[in-house]
């Protein structure tokens, strides 16, 4: 098992290198000069600008600049935010927990919805339940997250006035009340993101269970007298989850996109809203670092999917 984990991590390294090359190429190809302001400032002689460029190595050949950039990225030396005057890594570490909390709860919500509904749909294909679930799933993944978010705000905050639509990190209440307020403001972002994921996951789950349910080992499990629930949970669902994990892993980059939108709508102080704010404020170091972090998060979740495979299907780790 540990050999398998090691191998998966080693496979990720070239991917990470590739992604960093793409990111660096985009940055290097981008027009604009960090010392543009100096160029237009008549008080700064051109020699000073040239010296600055040489000092920061802007005139070095591209591969040299790439290696230097990559080394400082890996060492966590991500520079200094132009706008908030803080180190970029401090800024990101402040924001990351909110993003991970929302994403994690949304994923749990999606699994809790999709696995039972998808399985039940597949057990009774083309029944009323299945048709309603399929229709809802289609509607669910055709509704873009930004529109669902607005509809939720319209319904639950404006019309019914049940939930706050602005996420606050400075809630003054203490004790139970503090937890309750946090829970209440997290409901809508988590629901928007979770329902969106649940929609496609339900479809995957239904298809996977339909593939598995007619296989011989399910009949064997029933024939040897296992109860229906044991057959379902231990034999059908566990095996059906293997392709579902693949498909969900492929969707992870899209889910991060949804997270950015949700954070922006509900003003969740996570790295997604940080990204948008920095883009609007031309804060390049933060933009680069957040994009890099999102790439790392995607890779980390791919790794998690690989580990999940090995747990679901122990044969995989022996290959």
């Amino acid at each position: 098992m540990s050999k398998y984990v090691l191998r998966r991590i080693l496979i990720l390294l070239p991917v990470l290198a590739g992604i960093s090359v793409v990111l660096f190429t985009i940055l290097a190809m981008a027009p604009g000069d960090p010392f543009e302001e100096l160029a237009t400032n008549p008080n700064v002689p051109p020699e000073v600008r040239m010296n600055l460029r040489a000092k920061f190595g802007l005139d070095d050949p591209l591969p040299v600049r790439y290696v230097r950039w990559m080394v400082s990225m890996v060492r966590g030396d991500w520079g200094f935010s132009f706008v908030s005057r803080v180190d970029v890594d401090t800024l990101i570490l402040q924001r990351l927990p909110a993003t991970l909390a929302v994403l994690g709860s949304a994923l749990v919500l999606a699994i809790l919805i999709a696995v039972p509904i998808g399985t039940y749909s597949a057990l009774r294909p083309y029944s009323i339940f299945d048709q309603v679930a399929t229709t809802l799933a289609f509607i669910g993944f055709s509704l873009p997250t930004f529109f669902t978010g607005l509809l939720f705000i319209l319904l639950f905050s404006i019309h019914l006035d049940w939930l706050p639509f602005i996420y606050r990190s400075d809630i003054s209440a203490t004790g139970w009340r503090w937890y309750w307020e946090h829970l209440r403001q997290a409901i809508m972002p988590v629901a928007v993101l979770g329902l969106f994921q649940a929609a496609s996951m339900t479809r995957f789950m239904r298809a996977a269970v339909l593939d598995v349910i007619r296989l011989d080992y399910v009949n064997t499990a029933r024939a040897k007298g296992l109860s229906e629930s044991t057959t379902l949970i231990k034999h059908v669902v566990r095996n059906a989850l293997i392709p579902v994990v693949t498909l969900v892993a492929l969707q992870i980059p899209g889910i991060f996109g949804g997270a950015i939108v949700t954070e922006q709508i509900f003003r969740v102080p996570g790295i997604g809203s940080l990204l948008i704010a920095s883009i609007l404020a031309n804060d390049t170091p933060v933009v680069m670092a957040v994009t890099f972090i999102f790439s790392c998060l995607v890779l980390a979740s791919n790794l998690a999917a690989d580990l999940l495979y090995a747990w679901l299907d122990p044969r995989i780790s022996y290959r």
Partner: protein, 313 residues
Amino acid sequence: MAARVASTVAGKLAVAAGQPRTSLWQETARRFRRHRLAMVGSVILVALVLAVLVGPLVWRLPINDIDFKAKLKGPSWNHPLGTDDLGQDVLARMLYGGRISLAVGIAAMLIAISIGTAIGATSGFLGGAVDHTLMRITDMFLSLPGLPLLLLIVYLFRDSLRKMFGPEAGVFILIVAVIGGLRWMPVARLVRAQFLSLREKEFVESARSLGAPPIRQIVRHILPNSMGPVIVAGTIDVAAAIIAESTLSFLGLGFPPDIPTWGRILYDAKDNLDFAPHWAIFPGTAIFLTVLSINYIGDGLRDALDPRKVLGK
């Protein structure tokens, strides 16, 4: 060629069974028509496309006619979908912006399909080291974070492209190229898989033994037969590209305010939700209906083009 063989065979079988002759495409169309929701989706999509193409000619209110007396009004006879905060007619803006939204979807899909088919075909036909390298690159692109990267590229390149091609064309080219350039990977994988199996098939072998050069084998024999899954993926890609563009515009980083794509209208509307909900609901519903009908059409096409179902029905 294979399609022709298959259709003659199917035709002969049909004649033998005493049914009228049908070509392969007629057969596919027949199966597509049996998918009720796909038909409903097609009707809705055609209606939407006609509305944005013909609508601005019929509904002639200008999209930037500012009228503060009528601002943030709900639907009325003068303004069937209400007005925005400057008193501009939401219907006129949606009809005009819808053209851009749909055009972005289709153009980005064409780019994604072209890149994906080229890479998948090269990979599947040549095999070996080329295949291995291209597939590693595809895997790497699949783990790129789409939206953050899209935002990064738009952020870095927006101004210079705007200078080069003007504000509208510049943003259009940028958005279409980037969305298409980040969505070709599934197509490449599908095409490669098709090529791997098709290039060993007898009809390709016979073409090869008759002396067809590789390019003819690909273009004339393998490619037409591997198009089924590509068509389905392309359909879904249109929906995904429309969502991507709307997301960008919704975040305020897509088209400028004078090009009211549906996402852009939502962006402008979101701060007035409490007193002008219509302003957000109509463009949002337009995006939703478009995406939903495209998804259903994709589902119908998948059923209709699935060769395993040919013999079943």
